[in-house]
């Protein structure tokens, strides 16, 4: 279940839950003056915590490493299409608002929104 390299520009090592060594895909795009940070779950290639479980901790590590301000980015989690026959490994993008409660923290992006950021 290797994740296609089209989902990321680089693999970003991070410390997950309990500082577990972890890895995600990372793309940073600037579109219309907004900075989009897109983290992609790498499944089997990620030896540690998932991007969703790492959440804010991962965002802060990326911001620190890339010199970004957490208040000035749009943070997006991507679960990539892994060409699995199982529907729960389909591609999805979620914008994450860490200030919201868990029920309202994630907003799924439409295909058009994703295209706008990535194309």
């Amino acid at each position: 279940m290797k994740v296609s390299e089209k989902y990321y520009d680089e693999q970003f090592p991070f410390l997950g839950e309990w500082d577990m060594e972890s890895l995600c895909g990372l793309k940073i795009r600037t579109v219309d003056g907004s900075t989009y940070v897109i983290v992609t779950e790498l499944y089997q290639e990620n030896p540690g915590t998932s991007v969703t479980y790492a959440g804010q901790k991962l965002r802060d590590q990326i911001c620190h490493a890339k010199g970004l301000s957490a208040d000035e980015i749009v943070y997006i989690e991507c679960t990539p299409d892994t060409n699995s026959k199982l529907s729960f490994y389909d591609e999805e993008y979620y914008e994450v608002d860490f200030s919201a409660d868990p029920q309202h923290r994630y907003r799924r992006l439409t295909t058009d929104e994703v295209k706008h950021i990535l194309d």
């Binding site: 279940m1 839950e17 309990w18 500082d19 577990m20 060594e21 779950e41 499944y43 089997q44 030896p47 540690g48 915590t49 998932s50 969703t52 479980y53 989690e77 679960t79 199982l86 529907s87 729960f88 999805e92 979620y94 868990p102 029920q103 309202h104 923290r105 994630y106 799924r108």
Partner: protein, 433 residues
Amino acid sequence: MDTIKLKLIYPRWKKLPGQTTFTLPPHGPVAFAATLPEYVDIDFIDENVEDINFDDPCDLVALSTMLSTQVKRAWEIAAEYHKRGKKVIAGGISAMLHAEEYVNHVDSLFLGESEGRSEQVILDWKNGCLKKVYNYLGKQPPIESVGPCRRDLYKRELYNHKGVQMVDLFHASRGCRFSCYPCAVSYLGGRKFRPRPVDKVVEDMAGIDNNRLFIVDNSLAQDKEWEKELFRAIAPLKKKWISHTIEDDPEVLDLAAKAGAWYVYQAVYDTSDYIKERVKRYHDNGIGVEGTILLGLDNQTVDDCKRLIDFLGEIDLDLAEFTIMTPFPHTKAYDDYLRQGRIFDFDWNHYNAGQVVFKPALMTPDELQGVYEYAWKSFYASETQESKMFRLFCNVALREMNEGTYRPRNRALANKSFGRDVDRTVKTHQNAF
């Protein structure tokens, strides 16, 4: 070093209405106990079969938990010991899954595998510098360091039903190269399959005073050559064993049967000919099959579930176990449902795989709960679970008699079931829910 009296506790949990009342001797606590130095005098209490006397003298308390449904009880136990001024350490699968909360209830939390590491915890406690967290997540010890469990700590008579000794749990490997949707094993034990050296497995298995085992490895079907070597090596022991999936390969199945495979847990996830034939291939090799059926996946409607349940009658399963999809932390299911805002219940006591805690995609939570109850009743309508289990039991007893390894049941315990007097009430799935 002076002797240290350690109270090692495995907290109780509430059994589900459809489940058998059988209680197996737990594996985690005795695997941990085996890693402790000799000067630690361990008193093991499995709260599922005996009560805790909180005033019993001890120096230190260790909690070992496997299930999410044990963690809240573990925290209650920790609170009782804290009232008595005792320090409490904890570890185990659900301690790792729920670590962020768990750490608030105990003096020290151990994350990861304990081989070669537990003595430091004891020394730190002795020296008054116990760390809040011993974090070995992702840093597995050499698999060669995994030794025999401390099964001498079991009070054997408590794992006995009407004179029949329960199976002993055993592990031949750790870690998993698969990363299945509802499973957290790759997070807990690493994404690499780590088979134990076969000679160690044989030595360990031979030392168990029980002819019937449950090899609890997540899947033996991860390294075919090791699997074949394992089966060839354990065959002379004449043990009979239960396991999860075995490689779907004629040679492997033949070797498994010769090595004593009694029955396997096999996931039944659709109504395909492949599943039907998979079950048949086990049966052709004399291996029984307990189907494990997960209900509530995102592609399932109520009708799909009912079709799947009806299908079970066509494939001649020996037993079936139904579970409701449950988003345990550190699984992809948890991440997906969390992002989708579908988890409505975070009470870990309800994470028992028999209670709906999320919004299914194609049915309501009530409909899923209803389908689950229907599944148990429907499958066991014509023959009770106890009766089906008895047939499996007879099957293995006959094989043992032919091989000269059969041990008659202990008549002195014929009126006891897990330490309590036998309940003669006939329980069926019709009246369980």
